[in-house]
């Protein structure tokens, strides 16, 4: 059956991909070799066992006048087919153990990146470099809802990929902020669960510059299928340039907090940030998905005192899916989102929350 499907589909069109790929690192190649070795061992055993069974089914039938034999036990063969598989297993275990030990050796890393899973996006923090950002899905809703043609990287594209240098041992410190996620990039053969409250280690050393795509692989709620992982490997020089650029941008972003914002500026930025950070639960039209994800349109909080609204966005609501965005987003984004929520979809409260208000709120809490 498998062979048949394989033959039929071996025209190797991209959408008929049927096997693991060797990937982009030494580890991923040894995992691939291990996979293929064990696959072929299974094929050989399968051909022998199924071959014997099919032969028997063709020949040893009553319709061909076969008389049944009466043998029903043999200690010798029982021992034989216990010992032979055992030997095969030991032979399989040796390379598997070697590869596993290699995978577990995350010492002497040259770059440490903290990877944090959130519902439903990834956060990357370059330790010791003062650079951190979220990585959100960018596939438009229209493509998901079949109103627009799907792009080549449908569901596997993000606004800010994780950028790493090639030829460098990069260590990932993987954790989560809410539920368990799992960070997987097939081409790197790295898959590690992101567990809230615990930090897991993993590492990679990529040979060639390129873009490597993966997905979250632990069910993490509604949008589990919509939080891809994209890793962009750059040459060491390009990486250094990128990092410097990010540091400048981060400084500029911090400057924005003290800037004097106008209502229109906040609304424009708020709409964009809302769509990226809030819309998957509260929906683009603010109507939510009650009762798990309440509506913001006409909600008492969004139309009530600004302090209450700031409180729930900054601190979240314990025991629910509402995360504490105070630690995730900049003051500018939080202010813009709150302003947007208070004035969009006919909420029309008319007031404006500025980044300084958020800063003051946070400082008052400390």
């Amino acid at each position: 059956m498998g062979l048949l499907l394989w033959l039929v589909f071996s025209s190797a069109h991209a959408s008929w991909g049927f096997n693991m790929t060797p990937g982009a690192t030494e580890v991923s190649r040894s995992v691939f070799d291990l996979h293929m070795t064990i696959f072929w061992i299974c094929v050989v055993i399968g051909v022998i066992v199924f071959g014997a069974m099919f032969w028997s089914m063709l020949v040893h039938r009553r319709s061909t006048g076969q008389q049944p034999a009466h043998f029903h036990e043999s200690t010798t063969v029982e021992i034989l087919w216990t010992v032979v598989p055992l030997v095969i297993l030991v032979l399989m275990a040796i390379p598997a153990t070697k590869t596993l030990i290699e995978i577990y050796d995350s010492s002497e890393s040259e770059l440490d990146i903290q990877v944090t899973g959130y519902q439903w996006k990834w956060h990357y923090k370059y330790l010791g470099e003062d650079v951190e950002f979220f990585s959100n899905l960018t596939t438009p809703k229209d493509q998901i809802n079949n109103k627009a043609t799907k792009g080549e990287h449908y569901l596997l594209e993000v606004d800010e990929p994780l950028v790493v240098p090639v030829g460098t041992k990069v260590r990932f410190l993987i954790t989560a902020a809410d539920v368990i996620h799992s960070w997987w990039v097939p081409a790197l053969a790295v898959k590690k669960d992101a567990i809230p409250g615990f930090i897991n280690e993993s590492w990679t050393r990529i040979d060639e510059p390129g873009i490597y795509r993966g997905q979250c692989t632990e069910l993490c709620g509604k949008d589990h299928g919509f939080m891809p992982v994209v890793v962009e490997a750059k040459s060491k020089e390009d990486y250094a340039a990128w990092l410097a650029e990010r540091k400048v941008a981060a400084a500029a972003e911090r400057e924005l907090t003290s800037k004097e914002w106008t209502m229109d500026e906040l609304m424009a930025r708020g709409e964009k940030s809302y769509q990226t950070n809030c819309a998957s639960c509260h929906q683009p039209n603010g109507e939510g998905l009650p009762p798990m994800f309440p509506a913001l349109k006409g909600s008492a909080i969004a139309k009530g005192e600004a302090q209450g609204h700031i409180g729930i966005v900054v601190n979240g609501k314990p025991g629910t899916s509402m995360a504490a965005f105070g630690k995730q987003l900049s003051e500018v984004d939080i202010a813009a989102i709150i302003t947007y929520e208070r004035n969009a979809w006919g909420n029309a409260v008319g007031d404006m929350v500025t980044p300084k208000d958020i800063l003051a709120f946070k400082q008052a809490q400390e």
Binding site: G17, C42, H72, K191, I195, T217
Partner: protein, 534 residues
Amino acid sequence: MSAVIDPGHAGHGHAGHDHHHGPAKGLMRWVLTTNHKDIGTMYLWFSFAMFLLGGSMAMVIRAELFQPGLQIVQPEFFNQMTTMHGLIMVFGAVMPAFVGLANWMIPLMVGAPDMALPRMNNFSFWLLPAAFGMLISTLFMEGGGPNFGWTFYAPLSTTYAPESVTFFIFAVHLMGISSIMGAINVVATILNLRAPGMTLMKMPLFVWTWLITAFLLIAVMPVLAGCVTMMLMDIHFGTSFFSAAGGGDPVLFQHVFWFFGHPEVYIMILPAFGAVSAIIPAFARKPLFGYTSMVYATASIAFLSFIVWAHHMFTVGIPLTGELFFMYATMLIAVPTGVKVFNWASTMWRGSMTFETPMLFSVAFVILFTIGGFSGLMLAIAPADFQYHDTYFVVAHFHYVLVPGAIFGIFASAYYWLPKWTGHMYDETLGKLHFWMSFVGMNLAFFPMHFVGLAGMPRRIPDYNMMFANFNMVSSIGAFMFGATQLLFLFIVIKCIRGGKPAAAKPWDGAEGLEWTVPSPAPYHTFTTPPEVK
């Protein structure tokens, strides 16, 4: 121990009531019955109803995955479907079907008049409709039903769960109580009610595998109950078993769950091993090869099932030594499983085979279960598992061991014993049609899942990139075919109950065992006087 029932006394008791004991009339027969055949029948019908319900949910899943993009359901509902499909199939379809077969066949196979604890038997069945009624009702509650996967990992199933999770927990408790009582009943029956002369090593393998399964159930269902109770405490009583913020550990949940979960997968397959070990010799007209080694292999599998649980958790970050231990222990399971497959193949070798429907399902069981075993061996290799874990490769693997494994085992048993249950032969042509449609549909549905999994498609996602599109469409077509075919099975069974060629006491010329010494259909009471086993 097998002489607990004194033949003289039983004979006397029977003579004391000089009238025939038949079933009571009307609906109350089924509510109040303590008869193992009635209860077995109810278990089997219940499990079939759950099979169709869980199957319909699979149809929703496959319809959504027919093409990329969201078409039919939204992600929240999709997650409820995957969760309920898993829960219903595991706890509602496969497990009760085997308990139904045990109820019907174990007393007939060991020469007992009934199960050892008939009133408890009634109770353990009637808990199930209550449990599943409650579980299914969560789908209609505000916030929806369980949406955290059948493995319900915390904290997704605690802090982040819909409110209906409490009903889910209560339902799981009820199912657990039902299973434990069912298992105790099986153990008590096998150890106490065997006919004189039926020593342990003369028992049919179905009885043996069920005895071992029952011990597994008694060992692990309380662990599951503990697991959901800890969830309940975390949700409602402020504990932090599974929350790192309070000093707990989300990974603890997975250790406890899989300590239950791994033996659970053997609970779902061992009775099928037993049934197939009765059917293949019957249609090969040759005794089972290596009976003794079959018993020891089953016991070894059961033992190993307790020390491999963390192979479901290779990616949670357990230390290297732990990873190696669980990898080696898991690989070891291939040895006793291999012994079983070799024994079945040797039983067929130089037999005089015919291929009636039970035999077709049994042979397909051996071959396709072995394919599931191969992918299981691949998954055991920890470094390779990092690439397979939580992808469709795993989905393909466990559907290969559960569909052509557990479910084909149940179909084979049903066709094999239907003549005994109903007194009629089923329609052989339709039976074969059912087999071939199931065989083709099931392979079409699940084989391509190996490919998309290896190509990188994670499981439990409602939408996917176009590179997975073609195989997903093939899978969906196969799944629709397999699903629709099961209505044919319903038709065949009803047709067989209503009429058909009368079945002889022993309709299969190669069959062995006490169940074939009583007339077909089996009378309401059998073996009120224990038979003598030589």
